[in-house]
Symmetry: C2
Subunit: 131 residues, 2 copies
DNA sequence: ATAGGGCTTCCACTTACTGGAAGGTCAAGA
DNA sequence: TCTTGACCTTCCAGTAAGTGGAAGCCCTAT
């Protein structure tokens, strides 16, 4: 398969696949004409990566996940630990964003939004104290 | 005030303040020795920026907010629109992360986390279909 | 005089790609 | 056969918003 095929089948842009080769996540062979030649193993790997990335794992985590994936003697505890760490990070981020959202929602609600300059949002931004 | 002073008072790292000067958010004057010289106006701006950034506004949004801040004839509706857009972006992000969190939580719950290789997380990542 | 801390500039690095330029390859149609 | 267009190749640069570090002034206190 050429890069266009695996791109379509994996859902990853060709650019991204080349990038993944650059950083050593996949190692397609080359045809005589210099084109990358992907086997079904490669396609599988790329689909794996696409899914892992869509779940928000970083590239480095994907690298680890891939190596666990290819390790017949892996322990599921290793996989679980990685996923739990990632989950905690996501939940932390959600919490931060929810706090931001609440603050902003309050400010937006209180702002009249008319042609006068007076504005609680500006007042908040300009306040001297910390928060 | 030297950069160290405004750094401490605004809560922004000196490096960040220099960066803000680079991109034209502040324009401190210079002392004879070449040191940046910040006035209280500058400090105020930097505190404003620190607060706006902590609320998650992008640098470009901060630039707009600053210009609105300095515009005596601004309409609060302009400020409100900006904040609403930003809020929508945040809420969208929260939604995405919550979906991720739910999926991951489910997978993590179902994974035994022992020394055997069998693992629902891996199965999910390796599944062929899309989702 | 020298040691320290603060200041300066400049360059590189971060994440995970993405866009674009310049050019080789291949299959199909005129 | 030539050409056109869709592929493919590499390489360079840019994204957001800083951060880290090196090399080298400046200033104050001992």
């Amino acid at each position: 398969m050429n890069i266009g095929d695996v791109s379509e089948r994996s859902g990853l842009p060709a650019k991204t696949i080349r990038y993944y080769e650059d950083i050593g996540l996949v190692r397609p062979s080359r045809s005589e004409n210099g084109y990358r030649e992907f086997g079904s193993q490669d396609l599988h790997k790329l689909a794996f990566l696409a899914r892992a990335r869509s779940l928000g794992f970083t590239i480095e985590e994907c690298r680890t996940l891939l190596s666990l994936y290819e390790d017949r003697h892996r322990s599921s505890s290793d996989v679980k630990r990685l996923a739990k760490t990632h989950l905690a990070r996501i939940d932390q981020k959600i919490g931060e964003l929810q706090a931001l959202s609440a603050t902003l929602r309050d400010l937006v609600t209180r702002c009249q939004g008319d042609d006068r300059p007076d504005c609680p949002i500006m007042n908040d931004l300009a306040r001297s104290g910390t928060a």
